[in-house]
Symmetry: C2
Subunit: 437 residues, 2 copies
């Protein structure tokens, strides 16, 4: 394998021999293929994509660059959920204990906020004391005791993915469907799962705003799973507006707890139950996803998943009292209301500027080294389609300073659009379902 020949072939759109991809990537791991060569290769992939055979070889090397969890000793199905990321997407927090309550193991490895989107780890860490960096043996203990545990990707899992992602993030090669699919699937395939449910966000707040691209990403991941014997179901869900009414780490934990109490916004509950239904069906706990969603609704209302969440928080070092008293979560010193300037109907709530605004208030990272302020964000956010009167509350801003709050109020003015004429058509909350069948 000559690395320059491999780059040239991909540059010219010729299909590579999977053996050459393998040798190229192993060369990168061993130091004989250099970072600039991989960067040029990734840019060529950005333009030409990858064939299924090429992608299979890429995922194979990524997967086996690190440890693969062995969970066969667990007495039931092991199913995880992965979201491609959105604004206000706190689905994992209520979903994991709900599905675990139904008898399925949920060994969840999540990520941090990225760009304008939040991350499950950042949200969980808003709970004082909560540890997302458990070592694998402790992770296994919690998982065995509670049928769920929620941690970050450990260093042992798919280290090649980390190295490739670091290169992609500085070389303009992040938004490539095969590279996104390989990154997600190499990590999920390492988790020792028996099934995977994907929440593929679509709309202006998603990484792939375009519906066709979202669909292609979903299909690519489902195909990669099938090839390697992992059943995968993908659901496209709406990200043309934030999910729920809260954006910001502590505020989203509070909203997740409300959901676990059977309260909270309808859209959040709907997505949680739909994905839970898929996981229950996949794990044999329900005859199909629709029945599974119904079962999950009843289970959620039983309060048992909330108890499981409480035990998980405790097992992972967090302040479990938060579960009954969300007031113990970090609170921002400045709270300001965003009121409707006039009568009308909410035409759109643009997720991306709101996500960016919360990051800039300190709720996310601009640089990797930034520390997050879990208290800041927005809640009581109005939903598109809502009729409002002048002076109605459209959102509440939680900020560290008066000037941060003012900036966020200006962001909301531009992001919450009141309708004067034609109502805009929101995406269906639950969109297409894509599976190997």
């Amino acid at each position: 394998m000559n690395p320059v020949r491999v780059i040239e072939a991909k540059r010219d759109g010729r299909e590579l021999d999977p053996e050459d991809i393998r040798a190229f990537l192993l060369g990168f791991l061993e130091g004989t293929v250099e970072e600039p060569q991989v960067a040029a290769f990734l840019m060529a992939v950005y333009y030409h994509g990858m064939t299924p055979a090429e992608l299979g070889a890429l995922v194979e090397v990524m997967l086996h660059s690190g440890a693969v969890l062995e969970l066969d000793h667990l007495p039931a199905a092991r199913i995880d959920k992965h979201s491609t990321g959105g604004v206000g997407d706190k689905v994992s927090l209520p979903l994991a204990p709900l599905v675990a309550e139904a008898g399925i193991y949920v060994p969840m490895m999540s990520g941090r906020g990225l760009g304008h989107t939040g991350g499950t780890l950042d949200k969980l860490e808003a709970i004082p004391g909560f540890r997302t960096d458990l070592a694998l043996p402790r992770f296994m203990e919690v998982l065995e005791a509670e049928r769920m545990a929620m941690i970050g990707q450990t260093a042992e899992i798919a280290p090649l993915d980390r190295r490739l992602y670091a290169l992609r993030s500085v070389t303009g090669t992040v938004p490539s469907i095969p590279l996104i699919a390989a990154s997600i699937m190499s990590k999920k395939l390492a988790e020792g799962l028996t099934g995977l449910v994907l929440d593929v966000k679509t709309g202006s707040g998603a990484f792939l705003a375009d519906l066709d691209a979202s669909r292609e990403l979903a299909r690519t991941m489902v195909a990669l799973g099938r090839e390697r014997g992992l059943p995968v179901v993908a659901r496209l869900t709406a990200m043309d507006r934030p999910l729920g009414q809260a954006v910001g780490n502590a505020l989203e934990v509070a909203e997740s707890l409300a959901c676990l109490r059977g309260e909270g916004p309808d859209d959040l509950r709907t997505v949680v139950l739909a994905l839970a239904g898929e996981m229950l069906a996949m794990g044999g706990a329900a005859p199909d996803a629709d029945v599974g969603a119904e079962q999950a609704g009843a289970l959620l209302d039983s309060g048992l998943p909330l108890e499981r969440f409480r035990r998980m928080v405790e097992a992972q070092g967090g302040d479990a009292a938060v579960v009954d008293d969300p007031g113990r979560l970090p609170k921002a010193p400045v709270v300001r209301e965003f009121l409707a300037p006039r009568r009308g109907r909410v035409a759109a709530v643009l997720p991306r500027p709101i996500g960016v605004g919360v990051v800039e208030m300190g709720g996310g990272r601009v640089r990797l080294a930034d520390t997050i302020d879990p208290s800041v964000g927005v809640d009581a956010l109005v939903a598109p389609g809502t009729p409002v009167d002048a002076g109605d509350l459209l959102a509440r801003v939680h900020a560290r300073t008066e000037s941060d709050a003012r900036r966020m109020l200006a962001v909301l003015e531009a992001a919450v659009l009141l309708d004067d004429g034609d109502p805009q058509r929101p995406l269906p909350l639950l969109g297409e379902r894509i599976s190997a069948g």
Copy 2:
């Protein structure tokens, strides 16, 4: 300037602000923009090309990354010739002393062999003792005394070009017209010239085999010269067959000396005189290029350029006795003849396999660290169109070993095609002339 934004813009085919290109490249020189980022940028340039304004900014930074020679004190025009590279292209050796003899300064900075092509420096170094690595002060002395000197690119000239070229050579981004043009022109603009003649090779032995691509490269370089006030004329010349009858360093020196004695193959003499005519016209020593070529022919036959070449060899440390006795050049131990297997007409002499064959015999470098054997190569090479009888000499192989010679004979069998039917049409030796007018 955010380097990722710059890469993304080029990736998406948007025109960059010249200021951003400048900042991106200065960042690379200063270490704030990393090699993988430049590699990804170069691959995006490979796909999208560069606008004239972008290319101007690239050349500007490359040029000013190093020293720019100041030759204004010289009392006459300073004109160099650059070839895009071919097989058997020894034009510079007779051309430089010929043009200097006509009263024009020729501060020639040449390159080494690359891929299947030879390089002027490697040829000159076949003369025992010849130094191509003169320091700039010594270069100036020789130039002032002989109106010519022939050395390699010094480290002071366009160091950014060297760094970019090193990246391009490992990332599959060499064959990009704007990048080739920028690399050549940044170095030539640093030579303190008043004019530049480009020999743009076209045909299967050229780096850009395609006529349209050769033409575009020529136009791009002419335009870059115009922008920066340097008159540039480009001539497309044929490289669908080797130039002359010799390929290999010492053998090409011998052929060059023959040309300087008014002998040697016609095609070599024709190209030398045509380019000399352009240089004389450009430097005000002839009313136009055609008259210049005639003057150059008479001058060549006077023997004075040969004397000048002899003095230059001496001034640069070489064995000047070689000039009268080419038998002093390094000789290969094994010489074998390649004879016509049958009667016919030579339909084609493929330059690329012959160039590769000579490199593999030790006449060029496969790796940068390889040392060259100046003695090996091919001479007495037949020209396309020649009618031959069975047993006629088609070429002579000069090799280090019997097995090298056998391999080269096999290469020649495949590269020298005898016609059975339609004669193939060779490219015109002198093709289009491209200038700013």
